[in-house]
């Protein structure tokens, strides 16, 4: 709780502080809990519904904690043209890594692409993608 209050204090006085604040909370806790929404709403003089609405609107914010590592796989048109659908279909079932779909990592001439944390991976084939998932699991 103390950490949450520190994060809120750090954004005091900014114009439109909610998104940067939620990014910090998401990064710190891995999710934005109901408790956090309540506290943030109180601090910013917003209703809980307003904060809740923002959290649920954006794909980057999650209300439930999920400690699994995440692999973001681009499934947009340029990667489709380079065969990402077949790669995704061939991915073995596994529960230890969360495979998230993103629409575009901006590396559209060298797809299929994926991102883990801030590290990007291009020119994936079934073997390389499989190995990447394996290192996370």
């Amino acid at each position: 709780m103390e950490r949450l209050n520190q994060i809120i204090a750090a954004h005091a006085g900014r114009e439109g502080p909610l998104l940067p604040l939620l990014h910090n909370v998401q990064a710190e806790y891995g999710h934005v809990s109901e408790e956090a929404i309540r506290t943030i709403a109180l601090a910013l003089n917003l209703s809980r519904a307003e904060v809740q609405g923002v959290v649920s609107f954006y794909h980057d914010f999650h209300e439930e904690a999920d400690a699994r590592p995440v692999l973001k796989l681009c499934r947009a048109e340029a990667c489709q043209a380079r065969g990402v659908d077949a790669l995704a279909a061939a991915l073995p079932d596994q529960e230890r890594v969360r495979i998230e779909t993103v629409y575009c990592l901006g590396l559209c001439s060298v797809g299929p692409n994926a991102m883990v944390g801030n590290k990007v991976h291009a020119r994936l084939d079934a073997a390389r993608l499989g190995a990447l998932v394996e290192t996370l699991a």
Partner: protein, 512 residues
């Protein structure tokens, strides 16, 4: 000591540039991390004394240094991919270290801002207007007119907002500006602020671009003293495609749900926090320093029809020579795909080319004569958007692509207007039925006697296609913004240009 230049942009890193750079360092070379040339099929690429080598893996380093590498591509400046370009916005690409203020100044940086300060706000706007620069985000609205509106608005506070929420598939030019030449964007925003009298600027970057965010944050800090009293701040999006729409971006900056606002009021008059705001795309703002430094006439002398100047075109998807190709408007689609792009990477025939991102039309090779120009593409029921080109080979299933367009719209709709929110979901279901060639019998509710207007007989495939066209019409003219309004472009173009993928032949037979 051999100096080796290797890009440090996200694409080069994703292809393994760090490992190659480390191998050169281990071999005793000095490695300079510069911006990307935009020759993506050659990444990771090393440049030594103007000669290029790529795509490299660490094991290639010895051969490169021993001049026996089979991956030599000759002098970069003379390579046809580079020699055919007219690089205004990307003039420094591959030549400077992105965060070096020294390199930026040595390669013509800050001259546009100096010129703007010298001639004053009025003359600066006049230059931008005369250059014919149009918004590069897709809408193509004249930048000078937008700036004039903001300049004339009376307010205690004004904003410059840079739309760096580059969510379209096949586009990466914004990312390359921010990662390769971030001071260019800072300079463009400072010129805009000077011209319209804004105190504060925001760069709204999508969260999928962590490298661009880091570079822009560093650049904003390092150049703060050069653009003062104008203040810049980087803000990070949160994974919503629709926030690339300007009013939804403004809501997002204000800390709200990224829902689209109705216009009017125009953001130029009531934008961020209700204040007059210039909202421009990265490429629009990045074109301005060149225009100020070289003059509006020089910029306007390049181009085609009402599309003046150059466009950084992004060639992507299943293409042999993908990358960034900046050239004056007017080059044909066929030249871009076949001559410059070299056809498909898979070696199979080109079947379709999507121009303008996920909301752009799918063109068949019969459209390859079209010149790259806002009006020419509009006349052909397409759009150039942010100038991304996705090439598909003959294995593409166009009804599947049409379905994806609807699915994408459903996933990314902000939910504010009905045609987009509900139409996209109904569109997915409809295209699923068309793909299954199933037709549809009236359901229980439709069959009820009190449902006077409901259809009582089964819909054939031909009926379903008419229904899809009807739905697209509703979305196109009834949606608040381009997400719902332009989703019909990929859907209808796929249907019209590739009817065989929708069973249209069998539908026609059935109708006869």
């Amino acid at each position: 000591m051999t100096i080796v230049r290797i890009s440090d942009d996200a694409l080069a890193l994703a292809c393994g540039a760090d490992e190659v750079a480390a191998a050169f360092v281990a071999a005793g070379c000095t490695v300079e991390r510069v911006s990307s040339r935009g020759m993506h099929w050659l990444e990771p690429m090393a440049e030594i004394g103007g000669q290029g080598f790529g795509p490299l893996v660490p094991a290639d380093v010895a051969a490169v240094l021993g001049r026996t590498s089979t991956k030599a591509v000759g002098r970069i400046e003379e390579h046809p991919f580079i020699a055919r370009q007219q690089r205004f916005t990307f003039a420094r690409a591959g030549k400077t270290r992105p965060l070096s203020l020294e390199d930026y100044a040595a390669h013509g940086g800050w001259q546009g801002l100096a010129r703007a300060r010298e001639v004053g706000p009025g003359a600066t706007i006049a230059q931008v207007t005369e250059s014919g620069l149009r918004g590069r985000g897709g809408a193509g609205f004249p930048a000078g007119i937008k700036w004039t509106t903001v300049a004339k608005a009376q307010a205690d506070r004004k904003y410059i907002v840079c739309n760096a929420d580059e969510g379209d598939s096949a586009t990466f030019a914004d990312r390359m500006v921010m990662e390769g030449d971030p001071y260019l964007l800072v300079e463009g925003m400072a010129i805009a602020a000077h011209a319209v009298g804004a105190q504060k600027g925001y760069v709204y970057i999508r969260s999928e671009y962590p490298h661009a965010i880091a570079k822009m944050q560093a650049a904003v800090r390092a150049s703060a003293h050069l653009v003062a009293p104008f203040e810049l701040e980087v803000r990070v999006g949160a994974g919503a495609y629709v926030c690339g729409e300007e009013t939804s971006l403004l809501n997002s900056l204000e800390g709200k749900r990224g829902e689209v606002r109705a216009k009017p009021p125009l953001p130029a008059l009531e934008g961020l926090f209700g204040k007059p705001t210039v909202v421009n795309n990265v490429l629009t703002l990045a074109a301005v320093p060149w225009i100020m430094a070289n003059g509006a006439a020089a910029y306007a002398s390049v181009g085609f029809g009402r599309s003046k100047g150059t466009m950084p075109i992004q060639i992507a998807g299943n293409v042999k020579h993908g990358g960034l190709f900046e050239v004056g408007f007017g080059i044909t689609l066929g030249e871009l795909v076949n001559e410059i792009g070299g056809g498909t990477a898979s070696g199979r025939p080109v079947r379709a080319v999507q121009v303008g991102g996920p909301l752009g039309a799918y063109h068949a090779p019969s459209d390859f004569h079209l010149p790259f120009d806002y009006e020419a593409f509009a006349a052909a029921d397409g759009l150039i958007g942010h100038a991304g080109i996705t090439v598909f080979d003959d294995t593409a299933d166009m009804s599947r692509q049409a379905r994806f367009a609807m699915e994408f719209c459903a996933a990314e709709s902000c939910g504010k207007c009905t045609p987009c929110r509900i139409g996209s979901t109904r569109g997915v279901e409809l295209i699923d039925r068309i793909r299954a060639r199933s037709g549809r019998a009236p359901d229980k509710v439709e069959a009820l006697p009190q449902m006077h207007n409901a259809r009582k007989v089964e819909r054939s495939l031909a009926d379903e296609i008419v229904l899809l066209e009807d739905l697209c019409e509703t979305m196109k003219f009834g949606s608040l913004c381009a997400l719902g309004g332009f989703t019909p472009y990929p859907v209808l173009s796929a249907l019209r240009n590739f009817p065989e993928d929708f069973g249209a032949a069998s539908a026609r037979e059935a109708a006869e």
